[in-house]
Each structure stands twice: as C-alpha cells, then as structure tokens.
Symmetry: C2
Subunit: 433 residues, 2 copies
C-alpha cells in the first residue's frame, strides 16, 4: 500500500513523558497494559492493527482455527485511556541522537523508547531456498492453508506421476515446537479429513517429512520430551530425519544433506532471528539481537529499552541470552512496566528474573509433551489437556477463548476441521517475509 502524502505521524506532546513502544506482540502488549496507571503518554506502534497469538498459528495453517480465534484488535486494549495512542505504521529506523523513530509516514520523538519488534524468520542466509514457506505471521498461516488445499485440488487434476508425488508430499523443516505441531496437525488432516474430501487420491502416497538439523526434536525442552515427541511422530507416520540439513529447494525438489525429496510444500520453521531495526549502534547488537542489561536497557543507552525476542539478556542461567519464547517476552514486558514506574518514582530499578513455568508442545489428538518446573515431564492425554488449558488461559481475550474452545470441542467430537477454505489463492511468487 503506497502511503499518500497527506499522512503524517503527529501526536500532540503533553506534559507527561512519552514512552514509544515498537511492536504489539507479547512483550510490547504486556508492557503497554502494565503502564496503564503510569503518568506517561504511551504510544504503541505496530504494522498490524492486531496482536497475534503466535503459538497457535499452526492451527490456522492447518484449517483448525480462523484468524479471529488467535488475533485480537490492538486498539481494544487501549480503550478508555486518554494518554494512550495506537498507530498502525511500519517503523523503518531509529535515530537515537535525536530521540526519534522513523516510519513510512514520518518521524516521532520519544522520551523513552521500548523496542519490542520481536523476531523474523531466519533463512540463515541461504539464497537457494526462496520458495520455502514461513510460518511466523498470520498472513503466512492463511497462505499456507490456501497452498496446501490448492495442491490437493490440483493433485486431483494431474496425470503426471512426478507432479502428483510433489503435491502429495509435505516437508517441514525444523523440529522445534512449530515444526512438531504442524506435522501433528497435518497427520490428523491426512488421517481424518483428506481421504474423505479427496476420494480420488491415494493418501498412502502422502508423506509428511520432518527435517531437523540436530540429533533431537524440541531442543528447548527436556530430553524426555524430545524422545516422547519423536515416538509420537513415528506413531503418526511422520518421517523424521535428524542430523539433516536443507541445502537447496528448487523446482519442487528439496536437496538435503542426506538425499532429496520431491515436494511442492516446504514449511520453514527452522528458526527465527531478532528483528533489529536500523539506526542502533552495531556495538549494541550481538547475534541479531539487542544487548540489554538486567533492566532491559539497551547497551549504551539510558532511555532505550528492548524486551522479548529482540532483546539479548545474558545471565548466569542463560549465558547466551534468554530463550526467544512468548513467556520471556511477556515477563520482560510486565517487569519493565514496573521498572519504568519505579524510575518515575525515583526508585531503583529491579533486575529481571525469568520464572520458568515450563514448556510444552502438542503433537495431535490426546498427544502432547509438557515439561513442568522441577523436572517433571508429562506426556499423553494429561499433557494434552494441560496444553489446551494453558493455551485457552493465555489467549488474548475472552472472546478468542470462547471461539477457539468452541472450534476445538467441535473438531474433537467430529474429527472435522471447518476452515478448509481457499479464500485467496496463493502463489509462492508472492511470498511475504
């Protein structure tokens, strides 16, 4: 969308200090909510008008949920507070000398800046994989859903055996939670939905491959959960290849370090990197993240902070920085709101301490793995119930909870997925990163 000339990012300065937050993800939104009773003008900027509950993107991609279950309008969180401003703009850079951020519709000054710009898909600089499909934004999930369904519609029309093979095979790259969850959801589609929808196709020929570079799945979780998820994957008929790298993806053939797979659908969930905006001194950047101290203050600045995926906070427990996870972002956002309040009150800031509530991944119907604090590992139906409970609990608003729960109960009872709709056809030429 071209930005017309008449637009500009002007917000009247009040007597209150202005806190500009870049990004309405888990960290930015939590921070903004936490600042509600602070004497400050709070400006939240995001290129979308909604917050995305990213852990459930894979369900949108696999026809389980519609966007309204996992996204909520950002402005809703800002209602009723005259010192709060939301602007849907794309931030293009930061000028720390002038204390200004730069956007496509002009600059805006700040007294305090919080960078909560999150992360973007990491292709590790590989130029030969331009046609893989990311799964990081809501639009990716909808594109992937269209792409998968379009392929089956085309598979019905093809007489070319090789093309058929390519359209029936799906390769998922990266054995983290997203990769594992996508594979689980795809195997459910393969088992319960697709054979009924496409009686002309032989689904014994549909193969789901999960490619992981290291020697185990779910690297962020316990050894036990990694092994349990691997066992589940195998039970569901997913071809897991560990210690395997993707070298190239051209002409619907994935070249791996161990061979090659014909596939028209390669989902890239191999990793993310910090979304560092231009203008920050390179001495403050390490491994694509902004180096912050224990108060989330960006190295070298007094009034610039960073929270969440983009922030690299090292500690004794996390010598390479905290993990890029939603709970870390939420806790940092919440903690920083308290520190900013303390700062305004002339009190000393408190160092951030991550409270690990555990982590989890779902693999499919009645199948999940959960690592709880204290080294307890749960799997199977109980883990799946915990997973569902926690996800419902953390969904943005009551309405989202209601709609998602409704969908899940429906799918569970009927083995049906209602949203297998190709509303916009998708071409990989138009991939958005």
């Amino acid at each position: 969308m071209a930005i017309p000339e008449h637009l500009s990012l002007t917000i009247a300065k009040s007597e209150l200090p202005r806190i500009v937050i870049i990004g309405g993800g888990f960290g930015g939104l939590k921070l903004a909510k936490g600042l509600k009773k602070t004497k400050a003008q709070v400006v939240l900027l995001d290129r979308n008008n909604f917050h995305t509950f990213q852990p459930l993107l894979y369900q949108v991609a696999t026809a389980g949920l519609e966007p309204d279950s996992i996204a909520g309008p950002l402005r809703k969180s800002f209602e009723g507070n005259p010192n709060y401003f939301f602007r849907m703009v794309k931030v293009t850079g930061i000028d720390t000398d002038k204390n200004e951020i730069e956007t496509t519709v002009g600059n805006l000054s700040y007294d305090y800046l919080v960078i909560a710009s999150g992360s973007v898909t990491n292709y590790f600089g590989n130029e030969k994989i331009k046609k893989v499909l990311p799964l990081k934004r809501l639009v990716h999930a909808l594109d992937l859903r269209s792409h998968i369904l379009q392929n089956f519609e085309q598979a019905v029309l093809t007489k070319d055996e090789k093309k058929l093979e390519q359209m029936m095979n799906i390769v998922v790259v990266g054995g983290g939670p997203t990769g594992v969850e996508v594979c689980g959801a795809l195997s459910e589609l393969k088992k319960h939905i697709l054979p009924r929808d496409y009686p002309d196709l032989d689904f014994s020929k549909m193969n789901i491959h999960l490619i992981e570079g290291t020697d185990r799945l779910l690297n962020g979780m316990s050894e036990a959960s990694g092994q349990n998820s691997l066992r589940y994957m195998e039970k569901l008929g997913i071809n897991v290849q560990l210690n395997t790298m993707v070298e190239e993806y051209e002409d619907d053939v994935v070249k791996l370090s161990s061979g090659s797979i014909e596939s028209a659908t390669v989902v890239w969930s191999a990793g993310v990197r910090g979304n560092v905006l231009s203008g920050i001194n390179s001495t403050s950047v390490e491994r694509s993240r902004l180096v912050v101290d224990e108060f989330n203050r960006v190295k070298g600045f007094d009034n610039v902070f960073a929270v969440g995926d983009v922030a690299l906070m090292k500690s004794e427990e996390f010598p390479n920085g905290h993990p890029m996870l939603a709970p870390v972002a939420m806790q940092q956002g919440s903690h920083l709101s308290k520190n900013i309040k303390r700062h305004f009150q002339g009190k000393k800031m408190m160092p951030f301490k991550y409270f690990d509530k555990g982590s989890m991944a779902t693999v499919g119907r009645n199948k999940a793995v959960v690592d709880m604090p204290g080294g307890v590992h749960v799997k199977g139906l109980l883990a799946w119930v915990i997973w569902m409970f926690i996800h419902i609990l953390y969904l943005i608003g009551f309405r989202n909870k209601l709609i998602a729960l409704n969908n899940w109960v429906w799918s569970y009872l009927t083995y049906d997925k209602g949203t297998r709709l190709i509303i916009r056809t998708f071409s990989r030429k138009n991939r958005k990163d």
Copy 2:
C-alpha cells in the same frame, strides 16, 4: 494462478449418465444434494472450494463474522458417494454441439448440464465507477473490511481536512437488502465500536449515505417493510437519498444526480446480473439470463438446464422471470433434482412452482422487517428474532450455525465485534469482480 500444463480435467466415464453442474451456490448445491440417490455420475464444478452463504456477506464485511461462519467446504457435501466428483476449476464456456464444457484445465463432456452459475455485480455498463467496491463474493467482504479499517487507521494520521472527510464518509449504493443491512451494521460500528477504538476521531463527522435509484427501499418487499426500514435508517442517522442515481466516482468524489459526496468508500450493492457463460446461443438469453421453461430446461435444448439467478423462468405470477433470490435458487435446485429422477424413471417432469416463504432484512440491533406469507408484516424485535432464527436455520452446516450463533450472542451482549482485523491490506487497484 497460472495453470500448469500437466493439469487436465479427466473424469473416467462410467455406465451412468453424467450430470455436470456448474456452480456450487444455493441452486447447484441443493441440486447436487438432491441427486444423491440417483443413478448418475454427478460432477460439480466451482472456482471456489467452498459454498458461500451470501445473505451474511455483509456481516463479514463489517467485522461481525469470520468467513468460516458463512462458508462451508463443498467437498464435505460430497463425502462418501463414489459417483460424485468435485473439481475446483473455472468454467470458461460451453460447447452445446459437442456436449462439452470448457475450463481453464481442459474440456469435459456431459450427458446433462445444469448451469447454476449465479449472478455477478451489475455496474450497468458505467465505466466511470471503477473504484466502487462490490459485495458479492467472500473475498469482496474481506477486502471491504480491510478497506474500511485501513481508512480509519489513516484518518488518525491525516491533517488534511478534505481527506479526513473522505475517509470518514461511507456511501452505500442500492437500497435492497444488502444495502440496508450494510448501513445498519455500519451504524452499529459507528455507535458502539469506532469511537472507543479511535478516540482521536470525531465520529459526529462520520456520515453513512444510502443512495437508491427508485422512490423506496427494499423494492422486493412490501410497501410497509420499505417504509419501516426507511424509518429505521433515519433513526440510525443514515442519510437516505431516494430517486438518486450515481453518475461517476473519481478521486474519492461520488457524483450523484442530486449533488456530490466526498468519500473514499463506496459500496456497490445496486444490483446483479445473470452470469451467462459464453457458448450458449443468444436466442436463449434474455436480459443477461438464460430463458428456461417451467422444468428449468434452457430454451432450445433437451439436456441443458439452468437454475437460480442465471435462469429466467417466466410465469403468470412472474411475467419478467422469478426474482434473483436464494430461496428461488434452492427450490429450483431441489425441484430439478426430482425432475431429473422422474426423467430417468421415464416419468413426465413436473412444472416448477415457487413457494414464497416470505422475505426479510435486518437493520440492526433489535431492528428488522419481515414479510410473511399472507400479507403479514412484522417489524422490530420480533422481526429481528425471526431473522436470526431463519438465518441460523439455513446456514450450511451445524458447525457454521454454532460459530455464527456464538459470535452473535457475544456481540449482542458486549456490543463488541471481534474480527476488526486488517489481515491483508487492500488497495482498490486490486479490486476483483
């Protein structure tokens, strides 16, 4: 989407006669379902993989419902029947000499053909209104939703008074059910949602205009309902202009026969015309519809039928053809399935008789008008409850009913609309017809 060469529309011919149905709308879907126990090979073709419940499109456009509430996968209706085939293809023409239909992926022969291609937006040949927004397909509804929300996001950023006026004004052209319902939903957004979401904007400056060419609203309904809906519109603060024609829409100014309005959003619900495919002899076409006899047989053919909006069936009661309404299409589809069965059994076909169950339009919260058979007109809360009951009843599947009801109860209780998400930005340059 470019169609690769390896695709072709081949379906193995069985000993059974082949009935090809073009279009999975109300008429085509009802027909296909009605043929379930017929000894025939049934092939349904549609460019989408879903059926759209068009009467509720306006709710998707105004952030009330997500697509999954009003659309259902077509293949689901075909499950478990080995003689049924669905193909997602775009039909480009018909060759009645060869008994073949032509598509972008090749031709397909038929023994019997049923054209249920519905209708498309009618711009009445006016080339000067290229930037008006239609509301006939699901993608239109999503585009309109994005467009309206984008405008408010931009309105917050503009300092240009004229641009602001254009972004705040919405013009709806056509005072039929769609136009009236869109206006009603927009006025609810204006009253309950937008002022909370956009505290920077002065919504007393937001004007909703409804432009109608004739001297009344809801022309297809009773005089009483027309007047009641007009009264409701005025109560809701909508500027209704009757006897007014749109002449031109350029540079965000609508030129009317009575003056002009600055507006960046002009919704075109002024009418539809039959979607007649090329290849049918022009002697069978009248006023953009296919002339059919009382058995829905297209004039001049024994084995080509048409149902719904595209079919022009004249009768004593309807000398200019039956109205282009969902109930007519459904009843014709259902009736034709019975006639085809009778034909196969060597029995005489029965003439179609439209059973008018009444018509209705909703104007907003607790406000609707209903014409019941026998000249009974209902308005207000009772009409609104009837409207909701009937729409839930006719929604495609149980899942759609559940999700839509859920959304409606939620919106009713909270005055909230959850789907105000700009998931894909929309530019009018990319309008789809």
